[in-house]
């Protein structure tokens, strides 16, 4: 298919349809409302369901219900909306149902603002809801990558029977860029007969399925947690994704950055290179599982004297960078909140201060 110029939010909606997801329940919030606007028109065209719930809380339990029935389902929201959904996300993870959530982040905490932010790193990667659960978190840096990640998210959520979170910042939703959709990537839902409450009339086996997150017996609850943990360990083995930039050079500083922020870093790295200063970058594409090994290896290269996490937050991913580097080098942080995205010039000045 030829390239089309599309706004990130609309491309995310189209990508979900092309991934075979025909159920979308949502509640509008800036800066991602165009997903709902787009799908309110598109879903009926393809025989899918568009439903605007009365609140994010209601939407999140509709997602749980549909997922428990074995339907491919997703929603999109932005930071405060994801907070409201976090209870259900914990339930969905505990009950081992697949679902896809997209968070087009805006500034927080509280109602914050509507401009781009990456301040929900902790919420997505470290918890958000209660209990020992993890989300597989993917962070796109372009509209094209958002499309690809949304399309991969559905099969991944089914492989692990766990929610997948696409974590983009406001610019990913609001920007228009050329996108190319794969011609055929529509994958049918995997066989869910052995766990989904999809109705005895349609099922091949006679086994009754139960979807639940309540385990009053301590041994059963511990056992469920061990099952979840095993899946998260498997994700660490099989799903880590990242890109490196300028790491063939003899860099003296290593940047770690994701999403839109990583593109600003790329421009800064290019300019510094012209000035004779080599800087490398690791860009995590999955935030959980985090590319610890890649960051550690890149930081360990001879000549590298400092590592810095560049993020549109007050310093969240930096903790994972520190954990990866394990004290072998000083780890710094530079960032901003509020929607004022750091410019390449700011990154250059900060990087120079580390030399």
């Amino acid at each position: 298919m030829a390239k089309v110029l599309m706004k990130g939010n609309e491309a995310i909606g189209e990508a979900a349809i092309r991934a075979g997801c025909l159920n979308y329940f949502a509640y509008p919030i800036t800066p991602q409302s165009e997903v709902a606007e787009y799908l309110s028109r598109r879903m009926p065209e393809v025989g899918g369901v568009f439903l605007q719930g009365e609140s994010e809380v209601a939407v999140s339990y509709m997602i749980f219900g549909a997922a428990a029935c074995g339907a491919r389902v997703f929603t999109t929201s932005s930071s405060p909306g994801i907070s409201l959904m976090s209870e259900a996300i914990s339930y969905i993870a505990a009950a081992q149902c697949p679902a896809v959530f997209v968070n087009i982040m805006r500034g927080g905490p509280g109602l914050g603002g509507i401009l781009p932010s990456q301040a929900d790193y902790f919420q997505s990667v470290k918890g958000g809801g209660h209990g020992d659960y993890r989300l597989l978190v993917m962070a796109p840096a372009s509209v094209q990558e958002a499309v690809e990640m949304v399309m991969q998210a559905f099969p991944l959520s089914e492989k692990y029977r766990n929610p997948v979170m696409i974590l983009g910042d406001g610019l990913i939703g609001q920007m228009m860029e050329p996108v190319e959709f794969p011609d055929h990537l529509r994958t049918e839902p995997t066989n869910k007969d052995d766990w989904a409450t999809n109705g005895m009339a349609f099922r091949k086996s006679d086994k009754r399925n139960l979807v639940k997150s309540l385990f009053l017996d301590p041994d059963q609850l511990n056992s469920n947690n061990l099952t979840l943990k095993a899946k998260y360990e498997q994700m660490k083995q099989e799903e880590i994704r990242f890109e490196t930039y300028n790491t063939d050079s003899d860099y003296r500083v290593l940047l770690v950055s994701y999403g839109t922020m990583s593109r600003v870093c790329r421009t800064a790295i290019d300019q510094l290179k012209e000035e004779g200063v080599e800087v490398g970058m690791v860009r995590p594409q999955t935030l959980f599982p985090f590319p610890e090994e890649a960051v550690r290896t890149a930081a360990g290269k001879a000549g590298c004297r400092a590592v810095a996490s560049i993020e549109m937050s007050m310093g969240q991913m930096v903790e994972d960078v520190e954990r990866s580097v394990r004290g072998s080098l000083p780890v710094h942080w530079y960032g901003k909140c509020g929607g004022d995205v750091p410019t390449p010039e700011e990154i250059i000045d900060f990087t120079r201060s580390l030399l």
Binding site: L5, Q174, E177, R266, P344
Partner: protein, 179 residues
């Protein structure tokens, strides 16, 4: 080689649309493009601006503080953004609404009464297309015929607007070349 073009004006002047058509035309010509709107909490009638980045390689930072070019549709936009345009860029000034110049010697500043030209063509609403065409003529970033194709495609669902906007493209080119 990368060019950044900022379109700025009042909300309602078609800033986002003319920027989108430029991005579409550049993409069709084979460039990498990004269209970045300002989506802050603006009032109706407040300032709207939008940046288009056009490059021959993958686009890094979508955040542009110093664009190479500016298309200013109203006075506040010119006053705000003319000082940050890079030397050597083009500044299109809608002189129907802006009685002042860019105040820069190191740029190609062109005053064109795009709103008046659009009114003469039949609708003030095509002023954004006149300005876009004038910019295309001056910057030589995109081809005139391709621009027309993209204008046609953009208005394909409102066919009756196509002739007016094609005339607006020609008028914009002519006005830019006269200057």
């Amino acid at each position: 080689m990368q060019s950044e073009v900022m379109f700025a004006g009042f909300g309602g002047q078609g800033i986002l649309l003319s920027a989108k058509i430029l991005a579409q035309t550049a993409m069709t010509s084979g460039f990498e493009v990004a269209w970045i709107p300002s989506y802050g909490p603006e009032m109706r009638g407040g300032t709207a601006y939008c940046t288009v980045v056009i490059s021959d390689r993958p686009i890094g930072s979508p955040i542009i503080r110093n664009p190479l070019h500016l298309v200013a549709m109203n006075r506040p936009s010119l006053e705000k953004f003319a000082p940050v345009v890079k030397p050597g860029g083009v500044i299109i000034i809608n002189s129907s609404l802006i009685p002042i110049g860019a105040g820069r010697e190191d740029v190609d500043a062109v005053s064109i009464p795009v709103t008046d030209i659009a009114k003469e063509l039949g609708s003030v609403r095509s002023a954004n297309i006149v300005a876009l065409a004038a910019f295309a003529a001056r910057s030589k970033l995109v081809d005139r015929e391709l621009l027309k194709e993209c204008v046609k495609a953009e208005f394909s669902k409102k066919e009756k607007l196509i002739p007016l906007n094609l005339k607006a493209v020609d008028a914009g080119f002519q006005a830019a070349q006269k200057n």
